[in-house]
């Protein structure tokens, strides 16, 4: 199970890096979304993945009898998903506004804050 997850995480990260290397802002964001999900899966895998082994301690005992899945990373993922959702939603809205204001979705052409040459920038009013 872990090996399968590891392969999946690897594939997701590879795809996300490919997308993030694109100059198109939306592809970049999709890459970020994939990366964020890959990281969540990574956290999940770090907490041991088992079929149907809830972390329940039998009555009267101090610790569970058999190997169980660790619930803490799952709690961490929940936090990370919520935060990641908020951040990505913000990034999406920002890029929509950015593309509208800058008139391009090509990250290389977005030079409003960093004009290509200083001569050009001193010409501006």
């Amino acid at each position: 199970m872990e090996a399968l997850l590891a392969l999946l995480i690897g594939a997701l990260v590879a795809a996300s890096v490919y997308l993030m290397l694109s100059r198109h802002v939306v592809r970049f964001l999709f890459g970020l979304v994939l990366f964020s999900n890959a990281v969540n899966l990574l956290l999940f895998a770090a907490g041991r993945v088992l079929w149907g082994a809830p972390p329940l301690v039998p009555e009267g005992l101090e610790a569970p009898l058999e190997a169980v899945a660790n619930p803490l990373p799952q709690a961490l993922i929940l936090t990370a998903i919520v935060i990641g959702f908020g951040l990505l939603a913000f990034a999406l809205v920002l890029s929509v506004r950015g593309v509208a204001a800058l008139g391009t979705a090509d990250l290389d052409a977005m030079r409003a804050a960093e004009p290509r040459s200083d001569a050009a920038s001193s010409e501006r009013p």
């Binding site: 993030m20 970020l32 990366f35 936090t79 990505l88 990250l107 409003a112 200083d118």
Partner: protein
Amino acid sequence: MKAWIVAPIVIPLATATLLVLGFSTPRRQHAVAVAGTFALAVAAVALLLGVEREGILVLQAGGWAAPFGITLVADRLGVAMVMVTAIIGLASVVFAAGEVDESRMRFGFAPLVQVLLAGVCGAFLTGDVFNLYVWFEVMLIASFALLAIGGGREQLDGALKYVALNLISTLMFLSGAGLLYGMAGSLNMADLNQRLPGLGQPGLVAAVAVMFLLAFGIKAALFPVFSWLPASYHTPPVAVSALFAGLLTKVGVYALIRFFTIIFPREQLGLDGVLVVVAALTMVTGVLGAAAQSEFRRILGFHIVSQVGYMVMGLALGSPLALAGAIFYTLHHIIVKSNLFLLSGVSKRLSGSFELSRSGGLYTRAPLVAALFLIPAFSLAGFPPLSGFWSKLLLIQAGIELEQWWVVAVLVIVGLLTVYSMTKIWAEAFWKAHPDGDDAWREPLVGRERALLLAPVIALALITVAIGLWPAPLFEFARAAAADLLDPTAYVTAVLGGGSR
């Protein structure tokens, strides 16, 4: 005393809530923000005195004992960072009252600044890796919004790049945290200090350490992942620039110092050589980038990069003196750099432009501003007897002690090039006549605006001079903080042993 630890987090959050709930007019919002930030400064002083008196303070959130619950720790380094955060927060909030326009205030400028301060203070006070991640996010989302609101094209452009690269950094941080937990079974910093050396997998630990190095390297704007900083820091209002310039990259530096002293067993990692080279390249590229710029805030932005290199160099050299130098440098730099950004705002307000070729004549028109500029500018360049001189001296001394001659050479040469940039600003914005003649002058600063814009600048300049004239107390403090980090026994026992319910 223990309960004071949460004060620097709760006070800004409470202020933010208050600002969201009421106080609709900008003037009232500014007043509440200033009052709230002042309260934060008072709490920071109380916490600082408490740590000096009682040693490391620990608060187990919810009463859950150390490795299981979230631990808040106030040690010397953390509490000193909280103190400068409060100082810079106060300076920026006062400056913002004189600068920020009404539309930005309507979009929630004031509460966002408070949330940012809460995030920064939380990051300095937590003793838990995942909790640090959460504070980073609090800080990030507030900074995203502050960078983007009310902006035109330039601001949106800067914000996009800032957001994109910082999101990659947080994801690296999160995956590092996941792997660390999978490896060690704990995310408590003191607990990790105990567990990692005995893990017997130095290669794996080093790989995870590199993930954190990259994550915090992006945050701190290290070579070669600093490009988001000069792309964005010159776009928002000056009060925001100053706040970011002082605090955000330094949270990255703080996290690097924390992780590569307390958490990771450095002698097992073999990363020191990498850190030294990265720090040196950061210093050199930053200062050369600044030399190529001709816009006030962009020059300063590149200088942040170069100065961060100095701090990381102190960490990379790793001797007690070098680490003390890094801490001293960080504290001095936050004050000086924020002040320079505030001064760039004053200069723009008077001469009409951030572009050096389109400004000038400040020396004759506003001699007070010119004099105030010289203090942080000379301090940044390392002129005695200002604070920058001592911080550079400490690092150079540490380099000589370790016989790292080329590091010493880089430290000295980058200092010289810093003088070059500061001279350029001085010659262009202050000495030369305004290219558009006297008509280009904006109306002079008077009354309320004069007080709001100049008071923070004067206060920060006084702190710089005070550190320069009496460096001993801060140096002793930095040395004690460095000793705490290099021998974390006290930290570990405070968190895991004596600090329980």
